[in-house]
């Protein structure tokens, strides 16, 4: 884990760290093009959670998010031979997942529910938003920090919720991948992410006792 001495530096370093460097990604794409299934599996390991995070960041329920993931990965496989920038495969996946998510939202004639994070725990389509939030609360009840973080996330605006949800993909997306997922300029990310995290800190802080304070504490 990287411990920074400055919140700004830490945030940007975390943001830049991703599973692979662009040249590594390109190498895997070339190998997958040639039929190397293990290279494809490495690409899946690197980006599957990001694709899921993009879909969930658009407040899609579990079934719709799974559809978006399936469509995105199929398109990626079919496009392997024609990708013009193999080193940007992660951003390609993010962009495709975002577009598919928007299309699903439009088709369902759905306006994403604003406010609480009911969508994030939707394991079953038949769960009501209230049941989902209660279920998440139950899972976290034995962990005070997690509960307060969860409560804080629920109180953030839609923009911060989507940005943070994408950023929470594992491995963390690169600048380019996150920007593609959110359809924002790369330069927007760092300052906005810091602002969202600071908002979250303020929401969580009253009972935190400084445990999540700025990086210089560490």
């Amino acid at each position: 884990m990287w411990y920074g001495t400055d919140e700004a530096d830490y945030s940007e370093t975390t943001l830049k760290e991703s599973a692979m460097e662009p040249n590594e990604t390109a190498a895997l794409v070339h190998r997958a093009r040639a039929g190397d299934a293990s290279a494809w599996e490495e690409l899946v390991r690197a980006y599957a959670d990001l694709v899921w995070a993009v879909a969930r960041g658009h407040r899609l329920g579990a079934a719709d998010a799974e559809d978006v993931c399936q469509t995105t990965w199929e398109k990626f496989a079919r496009s392997l031979g024609t990708l013009t920038d193999p080193d940007r495969a992660g951003a390609w996946l993010s962009t495709t997942a975002r577009r598919e998510s928007l299309r699903v939202l439009a088709a369902r004639n759905r306006t994403p529910p604003a406010g609480d994070m009911a969508w994030i725990g939707a394991a079953r389509e038949d769960q009501t938003p209230e049941e989902i939030v209660v279920a998440a609360d139950e899972r976290l009840r034995d962990d005070d920090l997690a509960s307060r973080l969860w409560e804080g996330l629920n109180r953030l605006g839609d923009g911060c919720q989507r940005l943070l949800r994408v950023m929470m993909a594992q491995p963390a997306p690169s600048y380019a991948e996150a920007a593609a997922a959110l359809n924002v300029p790369i330069g927007y990310l760092g300052p906005t992410r810091r602002r969202c995290l600071e908002k979250l800190r303020r929401l969580v802080r009253p009972a935190v006792s400084g445990s999540l304070e700025h990086g210089h504490d560490r």
Partner: protein
């Protein structure tokens, strides 16, 4: 990202970023089947079919003046294959499902298989490239076009319901 959330007394040096990741890992992990499907999707790399991606969608691409009736939607897939095949699909929501009207340009395929999340519907394509079908209330649809001479074509999945 696995394991228990760190206890508060252990988070003195734990950053908010990592705490959020651990939180999401508990409340919204990617379901394993999603990862398995992604791995299996490698097979699409060489499926033997020409792929017709969604090129235009009236739901998201049409301006106000060209938008159709509220319940009607126009989709265009393609171009696909060496002949640049395009498939125009009109999807109209009706009681109990959807009415689908299709046009394949240039004509040549003889059968349209409309795959949906509940099964499949097969319809003949006439010499002008037209076909029609009724679908139940489904979530997503894709087409496979077959013909004695024309190479098989598959379209992207599209969410309709």
């Amino acid at each position: 990202m696995t394991g228990d959330m760190p206890r508060e007394e252990e988070t003195g040096d734990m950053d908010l970023d990592a705490a959020l990741r651990a939180l999401i890992g508990r409340v919204d992990p990617m379901p394993p089947p999603v990862g398995r499907y992604a791995i299996a999707a490698f097979a699409f790399r060489d499926s033997g079919e020409d792929f017709a991606d969604l090129e235009w969608d009236s739901l998201t691409d049409a301006g106000v003046l060209t938008r159709g009736p509220d319940d009607g939607r126009m989709l265009v897939f393609g171009p696909a294959g060496p002949d640049g095949i395009r498939v125009h699909l009109g999807v109209t929501r009706v009681a109990g499902g959807f009415e689908v009207d299709g046009l394949v340009e240039p004509a040549g395929h003889t059968e349209a298989v409309l795959l949906h999340d509940g099964g499949a519907v097969r319809r003949p394509i006439d010499v002008e490239g037209r076909f029609a079908a009724d679908l139940p209330s489904v979530r997503s649809v894709r087409l496979r076009l077959r013909g004695a001479v024309s190479p098989p074509i598959v379209t992207a999945w599209v969410a309709v319901g």
